[in-house]
């Protein structure tokens, strides 16, 4: 599904040029659950942004489901991203002015789905995330764990092929964290590919494969025995 070859990304600020990714090669198969780990500043988030098509690589090739993404313009990336990718962030990134329902509905609106269909899909995913009773609430009225469940609901409502999670449990306590990881595992078991950046050893154990990044390069790769969802 994802084929990354010799990927480089550099940032330039006035005088200094920083090489955030320096020749990354990565292949992710459909249905995989991959965790990316590494110390602060190693390029994890940059890599995830490129995989998520939020950013372009400076050099190298990135092939997503048969499409070369590397040189695409922003509007083209947006088109490719729509419906194919779901995002889960550490800080949830819900829109404060929208209710739970409306937040989850948003990607469907951008897909120009009709209203009845949207309602059905949103309610189904909210029920699945056990947050349907809160559909009319605003994000600030929810706990962190609830907010992240809404964020996951929003990420999966379009049935994406790939979910990108950037430290999804970073702002949560351990109980809520485990709950979120269980949800992701369930989704993965149903066939969704997941790429997750994490600092947490516990979380990395949910993944099939752990990639360690250091100074913009992959230093080690290890296979995990897939864990069953914890209850």
């Amino acid at each position: 599904m994802i084929q990354i070859t010799d990927l480089k990304k550099s940032f330039r600020t006035e005088e200094v040029e920083t090489l955030a990714l320096n020749g990354v090669n990565l292949k992710v198969e459909e249905g995989e659950f991959v965790a990316i780990m590494g110390p602060s500043g190693c390029g994890k988030s940059t890599l995830l942004n490129i995989i998520g098509m939020l950013d372009n690589p400076t050099e190298g090739s990135y092939n997503f489901a048969g499409h070369e993404v590397g040189g695409l313009k922003e509007s083209q990336r947006t088109q490719l991203r729509k419906g194919n990718l779901g995002f889960v962030f550490q800080s949830f990134n819900l829109i404060d002015e929208l209710t739970v329902f409306e937040n989850v509905e948003l990607p469907l609106i951008y897909l120009k789905m009709n209203k009845a269909e949207r309602k059905e899909k949103v309610m189904k995913v909210l029920e699945r995330m056990k947050i349907a009773h809160r559909e009319k609430h605003f994000p600030q009225q929810l706990s962190g764990g609830q907010q992240q469940r809404v964020a996951i609901a929003r990420a999966v409502v379009t049935n994406p092929k790939l979910i990108l999670a950037d430290e999804p449990t970073g702002n949560l306590d351990s109980k809520n964290g485990i709950e979120v990881m269980n949800l992701l595992t369930e989704l993965n078991q149903e066939g969704t590919t997941i790429v997750m950046v994490t600092h947490s050893d516990r979380d990395s154990h949910y993944a099939h494969r752990v990639i360690n990044l250091f100074d913009g390069q992959i230093v080690t790769e290890s296979q995990n025995k897939p864990m069953k969802a914890m209850v």
Partner: protein, 792 residues
Amino acid sequence: MFRNYIKIAFRSLWKNKGYSALNIFGLAIGITCASLILLWVEDEVNYDSVFPKQDLVYIVPTNQTFEGEVYTFYSTPGPLAKDLKDEIPEVTKSSTTWGGEILLSDGENGINRYGRYVSPDFLDIFSLNFLEGELKGALARPDGIILTQETAAALFGSDKKVLSRVIKVNDEYSFTVTGVVEDLPNNVTFGFNWLLPFERFQLGEEDMSWTEEYGNNFADTFVEIAPNSNFKEVDNKVRAIIASKMDSDNGIPNEAFLHSIKDWHLRSDFRGGKKVGGQITFVRLVAFIALIILLIACINFMNLSTARSGKRANEVGVRKVLGSSKKLLVSQFMMEALIMAGISALLSIVLLLVLLPLFNTLVEKQIELRLLEPVHIFSLLSITLVSGLLAGWYPALYLSSFRPGQVLKGNGKNQGSATIIRKGLVVTQFAASIVFIISSIIIYQQIQHVRARDVGYKKENLVNVSVSGNMVDKFYPIKEDLMASGAVENVALTNSYMLSSGNNGSGLSWQGGVNTEDVLVRFRYVSPSFFNTVGLDMVEGHGFNEDRAVDSTNVIITQSFADLMGDKSALGKTIMRNDINYNVIGVVKDYLYGDMYGNGKTGPVMFYNNYDGANAMYINIRPESSRTEALAMIEEILKEYNPAFPFEYRFENDMFNSRFRNEELIGELSKIFSLLAIIISCMGLLGLAAFTAEQRRKEIGVRKVLGSSITGIVGLLSKDFMRLVFMAIVIAIPIAWFFMQNWLESYAYRISINAWAFVIAGAIAIIIALLTICFQAINAARVNPVKSLRSE
């Protein structure tokens, strides 16, 4: 999608009530201001548009040459109207007119009203709408009078049928009402309350033969030309007509020409016989200023919206991640701006309804907001749309360009270019405000300067009453009674108000002068008490004799006239006018009349000892007596001699001050504009200061931990903004200087621009800006650093 936008727009407005209020209120002020001005402009531009034939109707002014200079007057010879119609086929109708105030009375009920003596064509030229009687023949009988609806109501009360009723004019002459016409709106160049046949303009049976001569310019002439006629051709024929009627050896002949009544109000300044604009310049200036205010309000909006971008960045990121294109985001933010503009427009309608009466008082108009009228609703919508788009485009483009990869990680704060643009916007706003403040100060100084001008006579306690009834015949008894009352110093009669240029003529000759025929001389016919009453000092010689026969060939002249008669004393020299030699017996100081802004070189004036044709009685009240008591006394005495006439008086000082109405209007408007501009700008500054304080929370926290005092922090935050304000001052000064110098140059009597105006305006701007910023800065500086440092 739209619903989603609208929903989010309203929620985000509500969530940030403070910002929204600043934004909406600022924009509402801008829209209100622009709307008021546009209503005013509409009224100005539609002057005289009530006359359906305004494309065909022309007033006929004349160009007259004195000492090589061409001056343009509306006064024309009496027979001109008739000759234009008789001799130029394209001229289908013409009317001679003459305006004046008369007393109309129905029994005990008397009212003074201004109106016009006109020829019958007048009714048709201006398509007057008859409510009673009919246009045809309304002015056929010499004792017929046409009243406006309002005048008829004032005279006869609510009585609907007033046709054929007989009223008294000036308590002496009977006239029969032959028609009642619809009132004209306020924005006509000349209004009237009654119309009388032109041949009755002396009312009585006096010898009118002088009105049949081409040598006397006194009447206003109107013509209507046939549709589809060639203007240039007709105008050329009109220009030739006076020359064909007069002897050519009398110097350069006067030249009549066509002046469209569409230009009458806005483009009636003439210099050297050419149209050089007029009120239109003022209208354009005011419209331009309104635009600037609207622009300042829009800038405010942009500024506050982009300043809040930190808060919106996250949303932009999320939306992009979820599949929104940049285009969609731009339209979302534009939509928000338009919604804000819409709310502002609604608010400004309320403001308009509240402020319109005050505005009407200020500009002396009766403007109405007619929202149901397409023009008004369309204009308001356009202003709203334009300001929404103008205010929204920059924030929309700026916000929608955020890169989700950066903002969602919380490092979307490097807004380098936006900060520069935002600072630029603040500088622009403040510069515009400071230009307004400087202008207000200079306009105020100029008006004060002219008001304090020495007019050459003592106007402080001078009251004038227009002559009516038998005030001329009974002058001496009235004068004695008034002076015996103890409240009055002196009383005089004159044929001309002190301030007006009045009666004039040329073709005189005098001893010691060259080319004297070309000089325009003003004539004043006064009672001997005139000079003492108005306080015009005698330079040499003596005043008039109480026995007017003694002075039948004696005149008194002003200093500038004496100067034209050579270096030596003018006393005893002769002046010849209309083949009569007059002997100069006195010389008085020059005094100011006509243009109050002139260079002070008032033309020569010649006084006769003769008050038969007096128009005004001047009464000098003793400075020590109470004005109210004195006026009551004067009223009582005048009523005794003149019972039918209502007592109406004016203080000379008030008349003098009313000469500056246009300037005062500019002054008032510029004061209001500066106030609004500075308020809106400060709202922007307040928002920006709040934003900066928020953005620098961490820095402030660190500084406090390292030992900075609150004052130190306030200074730190204020410094940046003060730099902007100083920059604005530097930009504003040359602009204001340029505009004001230009404005002042239209006045011969003017101040020179003083550095103080700039210093004061700068100080005002700095103080107001400091107060605005300090409030925010102190708040920010007092935050416990523990809080701000934990926030990342």
